[in-house]
């Protein structure tokens, strides 16, 4: 297996350390450039299983806004993002929706919920 060198910018704190990772056989061989353990952890996760909190808006009927903004209850695997977004783009909610409501539970059996981050009042 080829040895790959990847460069990351740590985003855990404003220092923004440039961290270099050497990978072979899907294993991390070396990490350098981090100033603290949080940077090492961040890069390890970025390499092996990058995750992001997903945010978007869902359409909402009969409300004071035409949309409700939502987020995932936890960060989700990065490669799942577009698949989940595609599904969410077809969902239409009905007002009222309150901030903090779980609008979709356990999406794709992932253990992650979709949560409203903005209320939509019924009009």
């Amino acid at each position: 297996m080829p040895v790959r060198k990847l460069k990351y910018t740590c985003i855990v704190c404003p220092q923004g350390c440039e961290i270099e990772v050497v990978i072979s056989d899907n294993e991390i061989k070396e990490i350098k450039g981090f100033k603290c353990i949080r940077g090492k952890r961040y890069v390890t996760e970025e390499v092996l299983a990058p995750k992001r909190t997903l945010i978007t808006v869902l359409h909402c009927k009969n409300g004071d806004y035409p949309t409700v903004s939502v987020k995932t209850s936890k960060p989700i695997p990065k490669e799942k993002m577009f698949e989940i977004l595609e599904y969410l783009s077809k969902i239409v909610l009905e007002a009222p929706v309150d901030i903090g409501d779980i609008v979709i539970r356990n999406i794709f059996d992932s253990g992650v919920d979709i949560i409203a981050t903005r209320p939509c009042r019924k009009v």
Binding site: Y8, T9, I11, P14, Q15, G16, R52, T53, L54, I55, T56, V57, H59, Y65, P66, T67, S69, K71, K78, M81, F82, L85, S89, I99, T117, R118, P119
Partner: protein, 418 residues
């Protein structure tokens, strides 16, 4: 009397809400006047996370952040008017101001001892960034594009060029891509990106969006809709290097920065700072007109809402101290600063309480030392960037040695490239 207040807050964004909450907790009778149909301000349309990490110790989305403040406003039963248009302000005396408001409730005249102006910022337009070209559809400011997408659920376009690499532009880029638009490039005039490293990584690198540093959009071309932009390479002083090319696109989004919304203050005769483009204030954020305070983006364009809230609370304390005559504000000591600093706020200090200073550097720097000369206070930062406002606090007891001026000096060893 129903129409008399201790303080009237103009603007119901984070700065206004925070100042109204603080003023009410200090015992002041408070009214908020908000122009739009809702309290909450800009964060209502900023649906990404990144709000309140310092203030609420929680990483919230914009709407979640604003609604936490709105809940507090409701809990404290603070008076507010939405869809309120302030048609006139009259300064009656140091202790009395009159505010005329038109709203769905009709025409109302209020009297107040103090005013807290928290009307936020406005976006720079095409004219302010020297772009010429055809008058076509498909040109938006970042705020307009964001509202379309994240309030109305409508896509502004499919093939987009973004002007400006500040955080607003970067965050918008990611939103567009997640909603299946293609961002052809982010164009930045300066040789370094305007936004936080976190946003460069998560918004551009994650999706391989080209970032063209040291480039400007010179022209926008099209017949009915935008068809292309002409991009030109520039040097550090923004001088064209004679190299230009075009990028086809159907949409251009301008995210070239914000300016404090100060028209109303200017009409009152408040003195302005040409560097912040906001008003000149003392450490209570009181303007050159006694009893008129300012907070949030109307004072300085903030990248962090946490500081906006802090400014709102400080303005409320200013109003409180003026009303209760807790402090006698006779001193007005000017704050001077070195050439490598873009601005320092407040521009004046009274030496009657602790002071939080906000400042921005002119260019990215490493190993920065900020020295408050007359009092020998030194603050050290390993990095400083124009996009990240620096905040330092100095206790009242340490201000003693200041006489007729305070000089802020900045020393730096080298300039990093990122």
């Amino acid at each position: 009397m129903k129409h008399k207040y201790d303080t009237i807050v103009i603007g119901g964004g984070p700065a206004g809400l925070a100042s109204a909450i603080k003023a009410t907790k200090l015992g002041l009778k408070t009214l908020i006047i908000e122009k739009t149909e809702r309290l909450g301000g800009i964060p209502l349309q900023c649906i990404h996370e990144g709000f309140g990490v310092i203030y609420f110790k929680q990483n919230l989305t914009g709407p979640e952040f604003s609604y936490k403040l709105i809940k507090e406003v409701d809990r404290l039963s603070i008076d507010y008017i939405t869809s309120g248009y302030v048609s006139e302000i009259n300064i009656l005396s140091d202790e009395a101001k009159q505010v005329k408001v038109i709203s769905p409730k009709g025409y109302q005249v209020f009297e107040t001892k103090t005013l807290i102006y928290a009307a936020g910022a406005r976006e720079k337009t095409l004219h302010e960034i020297n772009v010429v070209g055809d008058r076509v559809s498909g040109i938006f400011t970042a705020g307009e594009a964001q509202a379309l997408m994240d309030i109305y659920g409508v896509m502004p376009g499919r093939e987009v060029v973004i002007i400006g690499s500040g955080d607003v532009g970067l965050i918008l880029t990611r939103r567009l891509i997640l909603e299946k638009a293609k961002v052809k490039a982010v164009i930045e005039a300066m040789p370094y990106p305007g936004g936080l490293v976190r946003n460069i990584v998560q918004c551009l690198k994650d999706f391989d969006v080209p970032l063209l540093l040291g480039h400007v959009v010179k022209e926008i071309r099209g017949r009915k809709r935008v068809e292309k932009v002409v991009v030109e390479k520039v040097d550090e002083n923004l001088k064209p290097l004679g190299e230009s090319f075009s990028i086809t696109c159907d949409t251009v989004i301008i995210s070239a920065g914000l300016l404090p919304h100060v028209r109303m203050l200017r009409e009152l005769g408040v003195k302005m700072d040409p560097l912040t483009r906001g008003p000149i204030v003392n450490d209570f954020f009181e303007t050159s007109i006694r009893g008129v305070f300012v907070a949030g983006n109307a004072l300085i364009v903030n990248d962090l809402v946490d500081y906006v809230v802090e400014q709102g609370e400080n303005a409320a304390e200013g109003a409180y101290s003026l009303i209760t005559k807790k402090y006698v504000r006779q001193q007005n000591i000017p704050v001077l600063f070195d050439d490598n600093i873009r601005f320092v706020v407040p521009q004046r200090i009274t030496k009657t309480s602790d002071v939080v200073f906000y400042l921005r550097v002119k260019r990215p720097m490493k190993d920065v030392k900020i020295i408050f000369e007359e009092i020998d206070k030194v603050f050290v930062f390993s990095k400083a960037r124009p996009s990240e406002m620096i905040r330092v606090k100095i206790k009242k007891k340490d201000l003693g040695d200041i006489k007729d001026k305070l000089h802020v000096r900045l020393y730096s060893d080298a300039s990093p490239q990122t």
